[in-house]
């Protein structure tokens, strides 16, 4: 059920069906997600700035970034996560036009790409540990693993949310009217991607 409301500016807005009244006229869930993402900027800002603070301050003779980083390998991981943002937004476009089969395909693809990224990170971390870098070896090790570990945990949670969406869609519990649910998960997923864009540049690429 829709109706047209004339806003104060004289332009026209369209009421979204199925939403209870809200103080802002916008979805509370979406406002909440954006507020949450704003707060996550502070979390990752703290972790990234800690890494930058400790950069180059480790005890001489202990392991440093250039000893362990494999830029080509991490570039591929970055590309995988970037493409998962594309598949996520395609999943949203699919459910908004009511194409449930495509929605499931793109959601599953996004989850698989995200899981590949996490698997790549796990492999990278085990390689680093084998080369003598761990949480306790020096400032570089502790700040790196905390930062990328937190990011990896966020990606993992995102993958679980995507698999939940996939399951809901399979059971017919994700109709077109619930496209906002996919949008909210998508916002979280894209945020995880943009955090990695910053981490890849500041941690891996900038010497």
């Amino acid at each position: 059920m829709t109706e047209t409301i004339t806003a104060t500016s004289g332009s026209h807005s369209e009421v979204e069906p199925g939403h209870p009244p809200t103080a802002t006229g916008l979805s509370n869930e979406k406002v909440g997600m954006w507020a949450f993402l704003g707060s996550e900027c502070l979390l990752f800002g703290a972790l990234i700035s800690t890494y930058l603070l400790f950069k180059g301050q480790s005890k001489p003779g202990t392991i440093v970034p250039k000893d362990v980083f494999d830029i080509p390998y991490t570039s591929v991981s970055s590309f995988v996560l970037l493409m998962s943002s594309l598949t996520m937004v395609l999943a949203l476009a699919a459910i908004q036009r009511g194409d449930h089969r495509r929605t499931r395909v793109w959601i599953l693809t996004t989850a698989l790409l995200g899981a590949s990224f996490v698997a790549g990170q796990c492999y990278e971390f085990t390689t680093f540990v084998r080369e003598g870098m761990n949480l306790r070896v020096n400032l570089f090790g502790s700040s790196f693993f905390v930062l990328t570990g937190f990011h990896g945990a966020h990606v993992t949670i995102g993958v679980l949310m995507l698999l939940s969406l996939y399951s809901m869609s399979l059971r017919g519990k994700l109709p077109e009217s619930k496209a906002e649910t996919v949008e909210l998960v998508g916002l979280y997923w894209h945020f995880v991607d943009i955090v990695w864009i910053v981490i890849f540049t500041l941690v891996y690429l900038i010497p």
């Binding site: 332009s11 900027c41 890849f200 690429l205």
Partner: protein, 117 residues
Amino acid sequence: MTDAAATTHEPGPVVKPSPAEGGTHHDHPSELEYVKIAAILAFITAAEVTVYYVKALKGVLAPILIVFSLIKFTMVVLWFMHLRFDSRLFRRLFVTGLGLATFVFTAVLTTFHVWTR
């Protein structure tokens, strides 16, 4: 719903933002546009990695990489996260968090003389 209710700040039905409120005439980009954005992001990522290996650019590597990452960050936020097409309130919420984080942690790093090491 009457005009009187639309002009007050009382709770009301959820509305999509009109262009005057920060929304746009079209709701979302097409799938082809998303693919084009992704192609641009992939190209910029490749450029970042290429620049990393060019010895002649070592002196300006950090500014170039920061600019590239800012471009990618902005494109994902504006197009993939739909901030360009959504209500200004969402933009304000995100930019407030981002701006606060940038300001606070730049201040922290400046206090510890990170930039002049």
